[in-house]
């Protein structure tokens, strides 16, 4: 089947799902204050965003997300490159790193709150840990997966030290580093939302939690749509950027897990 044909078909089933939802609501089977129909939800969402309330929470979440990610990025890539290149460093740090990798980082929230207090720094630091561990592990894996023959070829052409790293090793590991960033960003979004659900007054996580607790169904659904769109944009947007930056790299679909 032609790709254009398939991509136009991709809209069919979501549109049908929305129509069925609307019809069920119109027929009175779904009660609007329990499951608000799309036709009411759309205007409500616009109003919430335009009125600034939901917009403000979105900005807070985006701010936390980007800071958590950026703080982790450079240290994680540097450490990952170091771990990938030095066997001794890897042996020394892997037990610690692997145990951190296996702990759901949200479980560290109480400890971080204990040490740093309940404030903005705590929320961001807990989310940073997630990005950091994920990107370190992916970068290390990327360096380790670099084809030996490529390195040998580079050496035979006279590349050593910095040149070997800059022109051979780093570009070869780049796709894995990028995948790590993508997974890291996805995980960080999960963590930011989780932390906001648990311990914050502001942000999309806090907003959706309050909406659920006060039975404000329209707010609940609106926030869900915004969070979903955010996750969606990050996931597919970064995949696109990756394809654009590294066209030689085949797209991978299954790695977008959260």
């Amino acid at each position: 089947m032609a790709p254009q044909h398939r991509s136009s078909l991709a809209f069919v089933s979501p549109v049908i799902a929305i129509l069925v939802w609307e019809l069920l609501a119109a027929a009175g089977i779904l009660r609007p204050n329990y499951v608000p129909p799309p036709s009411q939800l759309g205007p409500h969402l616009v109003e919430l965003l335009a009125g600034g309330e939901l917009w403000r929470h979105l900005c807070v979440t985006l701010y936390r997300l980007s800071l958590s990610f950026l703080f982790a990025l450079i240290p994680a890539v540097l450490l990952g490159l170091g771990l990938g290149m030095s066997r001794n460093l890897r042996l020394a740090l892997e037990p610690i790193l692997n145990s951190f990798y296996a702990i759901p980082k949200i479980a560290l929230l109480p400890l971080v709150m204990l040490v740093l207090g309940v404030n903005e720094r705590t929320l961001i630091f807990t989310s940073t840990l997630t990005s950091f561990v994920q990107m370190t592990v992916s970068t290390t894996g990327g360096v380790l997966a670099v084809d030996r023959s490529i390195l040998e070829a580079g050496k035979n052409y006279g590349a050593t030290g910095w040149r070997l790293f800059r022109y051979v090793l780093f570009p070869s590991a780049l796709p894995d580093i990028f995948t790590g960033m993508r997974i890291g960003l996805g995980l960080t979004l999960v963590l930011v939302i989780a932390v906001e659900l648990t311990a914050a007054q502001e942000g999309l996580g806090a907003f959706i939690w309050t909406a659920g607790q006060t039975f404000a169904a329209k707010n609940l659904f609106s926030a869900f749509v915004v969070i979903g769109t955010l996750g969606w944009t990050l996931s597919y947007g970064l995949e696109r950027i990756g394809q654009w930056l590294m066209p030689w790299q085949q797209r991978s679909s299954a790695a977008m897990f959260q």
Binding site: L91, Y101, P104, T140, G141, A145, V190, G212, F224
Partner: protein, 263 residues
């Protein structure tokens, strides 16, 4: 021979750094450079762990979390595998469901929680369903990709040997897709564990997440660390235990399932 293996760098360096870290921690606490109120000495944590373990209540929390993880995994794995395989196998099925799956998949797993408990209340089902959604989607995506990615020659060979329909599916497609399914299961279990703990922290009395949160709230710091240690151990079991199992079951696929090979 044995002594030389035991003294090799693979064993000595990780062991040395781990021991060094714990020793430094212990010493820093005792000299007062690390505040014991924040970072209790490892020996104190171990002692608390031991007394709680003998008390029995701790095991209830461990069992609750494990039970939830297992139940939500079952909720995800059976329909997820079935739908994913069907999507990979039948074009019509794929066209009908793929867009919906792609729409839902990137939504942060924890965001489903407020929505689910809005309908189900703060019930056990609410927790289980929340922890099952993203693993379910992940398994669907992975299973569909596994069948789609099968080599055509394999299918042709199967057909040439007379396998059709059910036989082709059971004897050729399923075994060939199994390693990829397994990757999906492993990732799903990891995600399920994260969501289970998060949900327990927010909303459950029992389970390790609830225990952790409760001990932080009443500032029983040693108990909080015990909770953290147990969550870590379970996490290690979930992350690396399955990897070891896969090595056993499918030794020829060992590299495929490596943690570091996630791309």
């Amino acid at each position: 021979m044995i002594s030389s293996r035991l003294l090799s760098r693979e064993v000595t360096i990780p062991l040395a750094t781990s021991l060094l870290m714990f020793a430094a921690w212990e010493i820093l606490v005792h000299t007062g450079m690390l505040r014991a109120a924040f970072f209790p000495a490892p020996t104190n944590i171990a002692r608390t762990l031991l007394s709680l373990a003998l008390g029995g209540e701790l095991w209830l929390h461990v069992a609750t979390t494990l039970g939830r993880l297992f139940a939500s995994f079952l909720l995800a794995v059976i329909p997820g595998t079935a739908l994913g395989l069907a999507m990979g196998w039948r074009m019509e099925m794929r066209m009908a469901t793929d867009p919906l799956v792609r729409l839902l998949f990137p939504i942060p797993s924890i965001a489903f929680f407020p929505l689910v408990i809005f309908y189900l209340g703060l019930s056990e089902w609410g927790l289980l369903l929340t922890a099952a959604i993203t693993p379910f989607l992940l398994i669907v995506v992975q299973a569909a990709a596994a069948v789609e990615g099968l080599e055509r020659t394999l299918l042709e060979a199967g057909r040439n040997y007379g396998a059709t329909g059910r036989r082709l599916f059971m004897r050729v497609i399923l075994p060939a897709a199994l390693p990829h399914l397994f990757i999906g299961y492993r990732l799903a279990l990891g995600v399920g564990f994260i969501v289970t703990v998060a949900v327990e922290m927010v909303a459950a009395k029992h389970g390790l997440g609830g225990f952790l949160w409760h001990s932080w709230q009443i500032l029983r710091i040693e108990e909080m660390y015990v909770g953290l240690v147990l969550i870590g151990l379970l996490g290690i079991l979930v992350t690396y235990g399955l990897e070891a199992l896969a090595d056993r079951l499918m030794p020829w696929q060992a590299d495929l399932l490596r943690l570091k090979g996630q791309r």
